[in-house]
């Protein structure tokens, strides 16, 4: 599975940090999504998270049987599906004092049309 655009002239190598609102723009792309666990189902392997823009997203864990700690903030790296869910490759727990609103401000600035080229091309 390649998260990169297959057009050879337009190879994109970056993995942008996004929030739930930006997922539709990156369908098929590998992205990094940070959010707080709302529910984690070790039966289906689905995790519902609250992202930094206070919206919801669904992550499909690579290990379906894993259970993530509720209310813990994680960083997920994976591919955006057609349903705007994330099919994860890996996840990392963040510390308890991680400030989601701050993070969201950074995302908005980094995706601003004037500056996005500094970050994700």
């Amino acid at each position: 599975m390649s998260a990169m655009d297959t057009d050879s002239k337009d190879r994109i190598f970056t993995t942008p940090r996004v929030n739930a609102g930006l997922l539709p723009q990156y369908a098929g792309r590998r992205v990094v999504l940070v959010g707080r666990v709302l529910s984690s189902d070790p039966g289906t392997g689905f995790v519902d998270i609250q992202t930094s823009d206070d919206a919801r997203a669904r992550v499909m864990l690579v290990d379906a049987g894993e259970q993530l700690a509720p209310q813990q903030v994680y960083e997920f790296t994976g591919t955006v599906g057609s349903d705007n869910g994330l099919k994860e490759e890996v996840h990392v727990p963040f510390s308890d004092n991680f400030d989601l609103p701050n993070y969201d401000k950074m995302i908005r600035l980094a995706h601003d049309a004037r500056y996005a080229s500094m970050f994700w091309g």
């Binding site: 004092n97 701050n102 401000k105 600035l109």
Partner: protein, 512 residues
């Protein structure tokens, strides 16, 4: 009022003849032993009853019940004191205690003294000075803010030149005076702080005295230096902020600064008050403590609670105006946008004026040379002077000549710090070095180095590449005909990443 006692007329006569002498007559000679006092009771009760209205000059072993009795007729108000009456007891709180002043100008001109301001339940204040042996007897015992009964003192006209206390008289006490600690008397006001908001100090004149209360947000290091007159001076600079959103630098002088420093560095943003601080226009507006100033830590007054609430609700994190200009700058943590880059130290040619430049920057510790990280200091409390090793293993203080069995290591740690613009070598003194070395004192580090060099190296490595927000003092100094910028760290704090990222975003957003 007690019935007149046989001895009173007797002792009063000499009083009128030799007004300067009365203390000598009574001092240390319990009337109980005088044959003219047939009614004298056993020492422990000798000062009760028969001795009358103003308490006694009896043996030192007086029952404290006598002085703290609810019977106020034993204790007179301070306003009742006058030079013609020497048998009195007053009950007062020590609202101010000075350092001991010693002098030695020759075989016949040596001495020591300290003074206090006493305040009674009526709020009357009076200055009291303790000379010679009284210093040895009473200096340690008398604590600011405690209440004592005093008798055996002499009243004389006040020398207003030396005292700001509003009283025509002042007291002197000697070794024969009697002073007893009593339980806190709430009828005597704790502290009367007529506080002026820091922002208003800008409107006051230099030379005026003022009372302030604020949160100590910046506590400098004890600085020892020799004045132009050749005197050994000790000072401490403290930055305080209050609800008027203004900060000001306060300089504390003398041994009191050491005591203050020791106490407040253990505390988190303590509320401190200064009574009778002098306003100076040096460096904008600053405050200095004089011998008569009072230094308070967490005073029990209502304003302390209000200030604490304001501070904890984030009051001081907004922009505070600094009244103290360059040579210190704002003592509230500087805004991120007011920080200097490390490259700017050279670029802006800092340290060239009379006072060192104080800047704040965020830097990462890159390298710490491990030789000569500390010097050997005097183990005595408050004395950090260098000591030299003697052949027999003892240590002699360079300044005082005293010899000790041990020494105390104190850091003078050089380190290379860097940010995205460049790097610089700086010196960390004891307190700040301990902070960046994870709390290891220089004594502990020396032991580790001697016992397990591998662990020592590992430990030193573990403290590299940590990032801190640091306050630097930069001074251009000449050394062997070469002018070099010397940077020392006056405060260091771990980066609070949540706050730091918020500040960075705010700074960026203000540009876009």
């Amino acid at each position: 009022p007690a019935a007149p006692r046989p001895q009173m007329p007797q002792q009063q006569a000499p009083q009128t003849l030799r007004p300067q002498q009365p203390m000598r007559q009574y001092g240390g000679h319990p009337p109980a032993q005088s044959p003219q006092q047939p009614k004298q009771e056993p020492p422990s009760a000798s000062t009760a009853g028969p001795q009358g209205q103003f308490g006694g000059r009896g043996p030192v072993a007086q029952s404290s019940a006598m002085h703290t009795s609810a019977g106020g007729d034993r204790i007179i108000p301070i306003r009742g004191l006058n030079p013609y009456q020497n048998r009195w007891t007053i009950k007062a709180r020590i609202v101010n205690k000075s350092d001991v002043k010693r002098w030695d100008k020759g075989p016949n001109n040596q001495g020591q003294l300290f003074s206090c301001t006493l305040m009674d339940s009526e709020g009357t204040e009076i200055r009291a000075t303790f000379f010679r042996d009284a210093v040895d007897k009473f200096f340690e015992m008398l604590q600011e803010n405690n209440v004592y009964t005093f008798s055996g003192g002499r009243t004389k006209t006040a020398n207003r030149q030396y005292s700001r206390v509003d009283n025509d008289f002042e007291l002197t006490f000697d070794a024969h005076s009697e002073i007893q600690h009593v339980a806190n008397d709430s009828s005597i006001q704790e502290v009367n702080l007529a506080r002026v908001k820091i922002a208003d100090i800008a409107n006051r004149n230099p030379g005026d005295f003022v009372d302030v209360l604020g949160v100590a947000v910046e506590i400098g290091n004890i600085e020892e230096f020799v004045s132009k007159a050749g005197k050994d001076l000790v000072k401490l600079e403290v930055g305080i902020v209050d609800e008027s959103q203004a900060t000001i630098r306060v300089t504390l002088w003398g041994d009191r600064s050491r005591e203050f420093h020791a106490k407040v560095t253990e505390m988190q943003n303590p509320i401190v008050g200064f009574k009778g601080a002098k306003i100076s226009d040096w460096g904008g507006r600053t405050l200095g403590t004089m011998m008569g100033s009072q230094i308070l830590i967490e005073p029990e007054i209502p304003d302390t609670a209000t200030l604490r609430q304001w501070f904890e609700a984030g009051g001081a994190s907004q922009n505070a105006t600094s009244l103290s200009g360059r040579g210190g700058g704002s003592f509230a943590p500087k805004k991120l946008t007011e920080r200097n880059t490390i490259a700017s130290i050279m670029e802006q040619n800092l340290g060239n004026s009379e006072k060192p430049d104080v800047i704040e920057c965020k830097g990462t510790i890159m390298y710490i040379p491990t030789d000569k990280m500390w010097y050997f200091a005097c183990p005595e409390e408050g004395n950090n002077k260098k000591v030299e090793r003697n052949a027999d293993g003892t240590w002699t203080c360079e300044a005082t000549g005293q010899t000790y069995n041990t020494k105390e290591n104190r850091y003078i740690m050089k380190a290379s710090i860097a940010d995205f613009t460049g790097s610089a070598y700086v010196t960390f003194f004891n307190e700040q070095a301990i902070e960046v070395l994870g709390g290891k004192t220089a004594d502990e580090l020396e032991t580790l180095k001697e016992e397990n060099e591998a662990e020592f190296t590992k430990l030193m490595q573990s403290h590299l590449f940590h990032t801190y927000v640091m306050r630097l003092r930069v001074k251009m100094e000449e050394y062997n005909d070469q002018k070099r910028q010397r940077c020392s760290i006056s405060s260091v704090s771990k980066v609070d990443y949540v706050k730091e990222s918020k500040d960075l975003i705010d700074a960026i957003e203000s540009y876009v």
